[in-house]
Symmetry: C2
Subunit: 207 residues, 2 copies
DNA sequence: CCGGAAGTCAACCTTTCGGTTGATGCCCGG
DNA sequence: CCGGGCATCAACCGAAAGGTTGACTTCCGG
């Protein structure tokens, strides 16, 4: 019997997961959490085998942080991330936080059940779209933005001018422009708004 | 007895809605649709009282269009939009398409049930966040973008230059710039990327 | 019927951005 | 130990975007 904890801030999604998972004879949903903090609590007190974790909760602790705290304990449950979003930033953050798998919410119940069993057995489970994204990143490592470039692009997406960005990051405008030129080359665009659009499309910056 | 049709592309959400709504003695879920097209079909053949409609389906017909086709028929069911997003563009499109209510997916089951009963009785039901947004819009009508301005801003957000926009919309660059100046004034910004950021923040364009 | 908002366009000017070249220092890994 | 990616900066130039003024049309509502 696989003991499950559901962590999601939407009551409707929690009910849906409970209904879908209850159909499997070897699953038992032992608890639900509506926040990241509550998920960490219940992961300790209920000692489930697998936690189904949403990444975005309303206010309070994010799913990635909750995942980190849960997986930090030795012998703790596996965490299977289940979210709507498939941006690079989210995926990498979740995996880095120790998630065993990453599924999208549009998954079929059968796929979900299979992923839960994989996670319970310690095998990692990735949704096809997620796996493809990770492979794509490995195939073209040069196209990944550096930390500094991402930082600059975030401010560009916020609508700041080069001058404002240079002041914010304690740089000269020349450096900001230099970063931007590299960003444009990596994304295959030739102006800042197109860079923001491309980065959004590829999940390189947060929405 | 209120007969319900559930239209959502996520199996998990459909199960959740079914579970939550089945708890109400006077509700009966008569069908589920995983696409906009299927929702329109079933709205005719099953003749439900209320359709719970998601706005974003994967490929194919959008929820707004499905809503429009369903409500176009006299004596057809009421459509209660139930979505994750609360952008101005989505809300207005849904209401314009004939939706009776607009709920967010983080709603409590009790609120959802109440909204369904409201919709069945022909009373409109809006989530608090949605109602607030609409009121805010009424309070500051001057800040709303015109149809053409929104059209231009959408292309700006996609990363197009003024020249590309002018060709796409069969305008001169002067006209595009003219629209942009008005957009900047209404949004209180002074460049295109900031305009896109501000518009995203206020839900004026699709994410 | 008139005023105003929306939409279209032109000419002009200033500022910013984009693109290049070149240079320096750092740190990592082969 | 040395190449290469990353990060930093300077100077320059042409292109694009931003800002202003002014003008014309259409359409709607008071």
């Amino acid at each position: 019997m696989i003991r499950l904890l559901i962590a999601d801030d939407h009551p409707i999604v929690r009910s849906g997961l409970r209904a879908v998972l209850a159909a499997e004879p070897d699953f038992e949903v032992v608890g639900e959490a509506a926040s990241g903090e509550r998920a960490v609590e219940l992961a300790v007190t209920l000692a489930p085998d697998v936690v189904l974790m949403d990444l975005r909760f309303g206010p309070g602790m994010a799913g990635a942080q909750a995942t980190r705290e849960i997986t930090a304990r030795a012998g703790g449950p596996r965490v299977l991330v289940l979210t709507t979003y498939d941006s690079d930033a989210d995926i990498l953050a979740a995996i880095e936080a120790g998630a065993t798998g990453y599924l999208l919410k549009d998954a079929d119940p059968a796929d979900l059940a299979a992923a839960v069993r994989d996670a319970a057995a310690g095998r990692s489970a990735l949704a096809p779209a997620v796996a493809q994204r990770l492979l794509g990143r490995l195939r073209s490592p040069g196209s990944a933005l550096s930390r500094r470039e991402t930082e600059v692009l975030d401010l560009v997406a916020a609508g700041l001018s080069n001058q404002q960005i240079s002041k914010r990051l304690f740089l000269s405008q020349a450096t900001v422009k230099s970063h931007l030129v590299h960003i444009y080359a990596k994304l295959g665009v030739d102006n800042r708004t197109a860079a923001v659009a491309a980065a959004r499309e590829r999940g390189l910056i947060r929405p």
